[in-house]
């Protein structure tokens, strides 16, 4: 039954992730960390980082991982299928009526709205990650971790030219090295 509830949960995300996987980040955070507390904010961040590093769509990777944590192989199959089902059905339906919505004002406006939502969702992901990496709220006051701030700044500057996977692996090496000091 865990598999069935995972399938339904990811069906919802599949319906809501327009135009890219980043939409899923705040949605999953609200459900997994805030509502059910299956994960701590930090381990949620780690999970997303691993999904970024491995090949394939970020949200498929995340769905597989979350499913695996809760119900091993069947869980990951259920979660990933849930994520893909709405897309698959709608795509087949829409492809059969391709000319119906082309150049309609509501369709163009809808697309604009999707871009808006994508912008807001990535901002919310930025806030989320700031809380679990650079900013430290542990003792009631805000502390800024300088090493992490540095890594963040370098990542911003290099993100245009260096592939994300390389950046993530490099910072993993830095962290690994620093831990021996």
């Amino acid at each position: 039954m865990i598999a069935l509830s995972l399938f339904l949960q990811f069906l919802k995300y599949g319906l809501l992730c327009f135009g890219g996987g980043y939409m899923i980040i705040p949605l999953l955070y609200a459900d997994l960390v805030e509502k059910t507390s299956t994960l701590t904010p930090e381990s949620y961040g780690n999970l997303l980082a691993v999904s970024q590093m491995t090949p394939g769509a970020v949200s498929v990777n995340t769905a597989t991982y979350v499913g695996f944590m809760q119900d091993s192989v069947w869980g990951s199959i259920a979660a990933t299928l849930g994520l893909c089902t709405p897309t698959f059905i709608l795509c087949v339906i829409i492809l059969s009526f391709l000319n119906f919505y082309k150049n309609k004002p509501w369709a163009i406006g809808f697309l604009k709205g999707i871009k808006w939502a994508a912008f807001i969702m990535i901002l919310s992901a930025v806030i989320l990650f700031a809380k679990i990496s650079v900013l430290d709220f542990s003792n009631g006051s805000i502390k800024i971790n300088l090493l992490e701030l540095g890594i963040m700044a370098v990542a911003i500057c290099l993100a245009k030219k260096v592939p994300f996977t390389v950046l993530l692996l490099l910072s993993a090496c830095i962290g690994w090295g620093v831990s021996y000091l």
Binding site: W106, G109, I114, S133
Partner: protein, 161 residues
Amino acid sequence: MIPVIENTFVKKHKLLKESDIVDMIGITQIVPGLIAINSACFVGHKLAGWKGAFTATLGVILPSMIIIMIIAVLFPLENLSNLHLLQAFQCIRACVLGVFIFLAYRIGKKVLRSYIDLPLAFLLLVLLVSKINSVWIIVISCVSGALYEVYIRSKLMGKKK
């Protein structure tokens, strides 16, 4: 993803036309779901109907599923105890933050174009900070985008008459 599809299906195998690729980009934006899955559905559907769409989608998700399952077995991320790994992940999270800030800047540059965009962005940000469920933010922004565009078009049509 899209350039790879173009290379294989249009240039190499000549199964699709250039105009199909343009249609595909339009569709991947408007259908809910991931771009990779949408494009796979499109190519599969074009070449072999719904069965093609199904097999193409499976083809796109299987490799990442297998890789992630292997990782999930090897590193249980939910309770890391190794000090070195913890520190490494601390730095990885900072790097992801940097990458996201860059992405937000890039998307923002595309989105913040006209004056009407600013108040809307502000409104959505307020909603975000006020801890409303993100589902509503997506719904509100899509519906308001559609309504605004329909309103502007109808006004333009009125002027022409």
